[in-house]
C-alpha cells in the first residue's frame, strides 16, 4: 500500500479561502448565509469556512451541523452507526441560503441523505454544496457548487482527509 499526500495544510487553507470568496461572489455577500457541516469532518471544515467568511465580510456567519445518519440508505447493510448531534443555528434555515459542507464527495449518497434531512428541518431558499475533495464516481445526479480540489481516483483507491481538530494534522492523502 502506498500513500501519497495530495493536499497539505497550506493547500487546505488556500482552498477554503478560495471557496469562501466563491460563496460570497455567488451569494453577493454573506447575507442570509447558513453553513451546515456534515459530521464529523464536514463540521470542522464548516467552522473554518465560517471563520474565513466572517473575516472577509466582517460579519458573523451562522455555522451548524447536520447529521444524516438516520437518513442514509445503507443502514440495513452495515453495523449500526452512532448518530451525531444536529445543531441548527438560531434563526433556523427557512428562507436562507444553506451551504452544505463535507470533506469528500464520492457516490453522492451522503448528500442525498442530507437533502432529505434538511427538508425535515425547514425550507431553505437555496441549498449549495461545498466540498474539500471531489473524487468522482457519482451514483446519483448530484454535483458540488464549490470544490477545493478535483481528485480523479480509482474506486479501489482510498482517500483520507485528516484535520487538526480530529486527527492532529491537516492533510489529504490517497492510498492505493
Amino acid at each position: 500500500m502506498t500513500a501519497r499526500t495530495v493536499l497539505q495544510n497550506a493547500d487546505i487553507t488556500r482552498a477554503l479561502t478560495r471557496i469562501a470568496h466563491e460563496i460570497l461572489e455567488a451569494n453577493r455577500g454573506a447575507s442570509d448565509l447558513v453553513l451546515l457541516g456534515i459530521p464529523t469532518r464536514g463540521v470542522h471544515l464548516a467552522r473554518r469556512l465560517g471563520a474565513v467568511l466572517a473575516r472577509l465580510d466582517d460579519a458573523p456567519v451562522p455555522v451548524g451541523a447536520l447529521d444524516v445518519t438516520m437518513y442514509r440508505d445503507d443502514l440495513s447493510r452495515n453495523p449500526t452507526r452512532a448518530p451525531h448531534p444536529t445543531e441548527i443555528p438560531d434563526g433556523g434555515i427557512d428562507g436562507r441560503t444553506v451551504v452544505l459542507v463535507d470533506d469528500v464527495l464520492y457516490s453522492g449518497r451522503t448528500i442525498r441523505a442530507a437533502l432529505d434531512a434538511l427538508s425535515d428541518l425547514g425550507r431553505p431558499r437555496v441549498v449549495r454544496l461545498a466540498v474539500l475533495v471531489d473524487r468522482g464516481h457519482r451514483e446519483l445526479p448530484i454535483r458540488a457548487d464549490f470544490v477545493g480540489k478535483n481528485l480523479p481516483s480509482a474506486s479501489s483507491e482510498r482517500i483520507f482527509v485528516r484535520l487538526d481538530e480530529t486527527d492532529g494534522s491537516d492533510e489529504v492523502t490517497i492510498e492505493s
Binding site: R81, A82, T86
Partner: protein, 317 residues
Amino acid sequence: MRHLLSTADLTREQAVRILDVAEDMADVATREVKKLPTLRGRTVVNLFFEDSTRTRISFEAAAKRLSADVINFSAKGSSVSKGESLKDTAQTLAAIGADGVVIRHSASGAPAVLAANAWIDAPVVNAGDGTHEHPTQALLDAFTIRRRLHGAGARGRSLDGVRVVIVGDILHSRVARSNVWLLATLGAEVRLVAPATLLPLGVRDWPVEVDLHLDDALTTNPDVVMMLRIQGERMRDAFFPSAREYAREYGLDEERLGRLRADTMVMHPGPMNRGLEISAAAADSARSVVLDQVANGVSIRMAVLYLLLSGAEEGIA
C-alpha cells in the same frame, strides 16, 4: 447485543451510548417534522400479554417516529385467551414478517425465552416481565437524571457519584431491579428503602445500601428520590398493616418534601397513587420530573429500536 432483556447485560459504554443516541432522538421532538425515515419498511410488533397503557403508547410513538409500521397485539381478545402458547404466537408473528418484538409478559423470563428460541428471528425488547426487569424504564430514568443534571452537556457522561434513593415495593418491582443494575453500572450510589416485608431475600448481595426507614434515607442528602407504585393487590397480601400506615412511614408527604434540597429530583414511574406513596404536593412540585420521564421514554425507546433494528448485525455495540 441483539436483544434488550436486562440492564444487567449492559456495559457502561453501551449504556452511555444508548443515552447519547436518545439525546439525538430527543432533538427530533423539537423539530418541525417530528419523524425520521430510519425504520421505513420495518415492522415492530408490540406484544402485550399484560395491561399497560403508557409503555405501549410510548413504544408505539417511538416506532412511528422512526417510520416503522406498528402492530399492536394484546392478549385480551386474542388467541392467547383461547390457550395459544408463546411459541405459536411467536411463530405467527414471524410468518407475518415482524422485524422487532416488544414484549410485556406477567411471567418473569418470557422475553428471554422468546429471544433464546428460534421461533422468531427478530430482536426482542423487554417491556416488563413479571417481577424481573423493565430495562427501558431504567434507561429513561437514567436519561432524565443525566439531562436534569448536565443539560445540553450531557452527552458522553455517566452518573458517577449521583445519590439515588428508591422507595417502596422493592420485592415486586421490576423497575427497581432494572434501575439498580443500570444505576450501579453508571456509577450512581443507590439506596433502597422499604419495610422488611417488601425487600427481596438476596438484597444484601446487590450493589446498594438498604434502609428500613425513609426518614433515615433522607438524611443522606439524595440527588434523586424515586417513589415506586404500591400495587393495590399487595394490600390484601398483608405486606404492611394498612395503606394509611404505609403512607405515614414511606410516603413522600409535604413535610418530607420540604426536607429535600431545592434541586433534588422526585421521580415516579407512574401511574401514581396520589396520597399513598406520593403526595399531590410532591407530584406537582418543581422538583418532580414525572412528566419529563414520560417524554424521555419516547426518546429512549427510539434509541433502543434504532440500535437494535437499523443495522445489519450486533445491535447495541
